[in-house]
């Protein structure tokens, strides 16, 4: 995260490859289910063996034996509907919820976050020198309407995507943050409104950032968990 600061995001998880290296972010939407970006995975049919989700730590390289760290292997993966850029990961066992590990709410189906809503992204990705990428960083972003976003993005932003305001200083997601959450505070709860998808430029000043709009795929998330 560029332009953020160390923070707390107990639903943000770290996806690790079989060597234990951080690969992408993700969001804990149910005790045994993590939502992340399709681009982080090689194939749709099965998770690569040895991949894990790490929860409950703020460090990118937690020390062995860190008491709050939970490491849970990925048991199954399901690719999202066409054009969603989403993947749901089923964990081998449920995560234990505590002060460091929490679920994030899902929005109602087809809910549109009002422009001006304050949201935040979180991740262990690059900071481009604006902070310490060894810890979880959080940055505040404000939602803008798709029509406003499309002025700058020249009509490329679809309804299944949402945008956050551009700033004149670089603030936003970067390498290693993909798959992580855009969470917005609504009615006293944090709601997963977007997923960080690979954007062409990292936290580019003057350009709105684009995310996958989760409310368009909530029905699919419920269906996968139910089935």
């Amino acid at each position: 995260v560029v332009g953020g600061q160390p923070g707390n995001s107990p639903w943000t998880v770290s996806l690790r490859n079989r060597k234990g290296q951080h690969l992408c972010g993700g969001s804990l939407v149910k005790e045994q289910w993590v939502l992340t970006a399709r681009q982080c995975f090689t194939a749709c049919h099965a998770p690569p063996p040895g991949y894990e989700v790490w929860l409950g730590t703020m460090f990118q390289s937690p020390q062995p034996g860190e008491p709050d760290l939970q490491r849970i292997p990925v048991a199954r993966m399901v690719c999202g509907p066409p054009r969603s850029q989403l993947v749901l990961l089923k964990l081998e066992r449920p995560a234990a919820l505590n002060q460091r590990v929490a679920l994030i709410c899902l929005p109602p189906e087809r809910y549109v976050v009002p422009a001006g809503t304050k949201c935040e992204i979180a991740g262990w990705g690059e900071t481009l020198g604006t902070g310490d990428s060894r810890v979880l960083n959080v940055a505040l972003l404000r939602v803008i309407s798709n029509s406003e976003c499309n002025v700058k993005q020249r009509g490329r932003v679809q309804e299944n995507e949402l945008c956050t305001q551009s700033l004149m200083v670089p603030v936003g997601a970067c390498e290693g943050d993909y798959g992580g959450p855009l969470s917005c505070f609504t009615h006293d709860c944090w709601v997963l409104e977007g997923i960080i998808i690979p954007n062409r430029v990292c936290a580019r000043p003057g350009w709105p950032a684009v995310f996958t709009r989760i409310s368009m795929f909530v029905d699919w998330i419920h269906k996968v968990i139910q089935l």
Partner: protein, 470 residues
Amino acid sequence: QRSQLNDFQVLRGTELQHLLHAREPGTWQENVTNVEECAGQCGPLLDCRAFHYNVSTHGCQLLPWTQYSLHTRLRRSGHCDLFQKKDYVRNCIMDNGARYRGTVATTTDGLPCQHWRHKFPVDHKYTPTLRNGLEENFCRNPEGDARGPWCYTTDPVRRFQSCGIKSCREAACVWCNGEDYRGLVDRTESGRECQRWDLQHPHPHPFEPSKFLDKSLDDNYCRNPDSSERPWCYTTDPQVEREFCDLLSCGVPGFPLGPEAQSRQEATTLNCFGGKGEGYRGTANTTTAGVPCQRWDAQSPHQHRFVPEKYACKDLRENFCRNPDGSEAPWCFTSRAGMRKAFCYQVPRCTDDVRPLECYHGAGEQYRGSVSKTRKGVLCQPWSAKTPHKPQFTPAQHTELEANYCRNPDRDRHGPWCYTTDPGTPFDYCALPRCAHDQPPSILEPPDQVLFEECGLRLDRPNYWRSKMR
């Protein structure tokens, strides 16, 4: 530091049965400390050729036969691993093959071997014993002949002949950087014995075979799971962590490859990447976030081992995104000193979706066509079937659910779907696009009221994280 297990080849989840009741395996010994203790028992015994190890009960059963003995068969087993002595199951020889105990029984010219216990047509001095391994008419090397295992032939004209069994070094060669090498050499170039991949001593390492199933990290054989220059292994010498193995190259880089080698190469792509993108040969040269890539032939700002000359098969041209090390996607070293490497996720993944033939309107609730494959080409499960997935929607409730055709009984907004015949994928969307000009209703309307109860709550203690950082 050498493990007794090094003398064995393992077949996980496998049991070896003898089909004749007259032959009895050893009794099960329960509660041996670990599998190495079991190997230590079997190793020195001349009549022990293999053993079963029960992972859950730590049981151990010694066996006087192997999978190549007569009247035996392998069977899948949920609790048993089978360890067989390498000398009995390897199809190649180490050194001069004096320890070879395989079942090859013909000579280089194809002449059948004479039984060692027979003195006709060739009379000879040998008497078969457990120690010299002169069994049946199998090729052996009882006196360490430099030409390897041999036998007396049944052809009166030819008294004896070498069997021409290849050395393990010659039996399999290395293409490119040897990621595909599956040979049976278990020594490094300096002659040190390799550490088993499934052991963490003397050198702890991340390459657990169960996590790297595609890398075939078998026993203690030389492999290249991290796209090093050549196959290598951890050594059993505590002072030397890892070393390359001295293996034969199948061809010189740049030399025209034969059909076998070509079939090994992953399909190349230019505008997207398939799988992990090892075959990506496009010209993207920035990271996802637009940071320019460092040239592969440069060692600044980042020093690295991926020198183009040493990785001729990986096409490390200019500063193009590539995947020379089996990472998750094409990547590059970046031109920023503070950011070593990053993925090139701006290169899209090549879709493996099948080409759709028909289309649907709305959400496809009215679709009554006969497409019966998912977007990935997996055949749909009939709606009336109960396996591999137990359906929640059946033809009895929904008359439109015919055969295994794609339908939308739950009005899924993402289109017609079906249960799949893949046990790992309960359902998926079908190879059907929404019909052109059929726009779904817009969602960009005034927002609804929202209520949440349990999720999305966190303890915000502004000073806590700052103190934790300190």
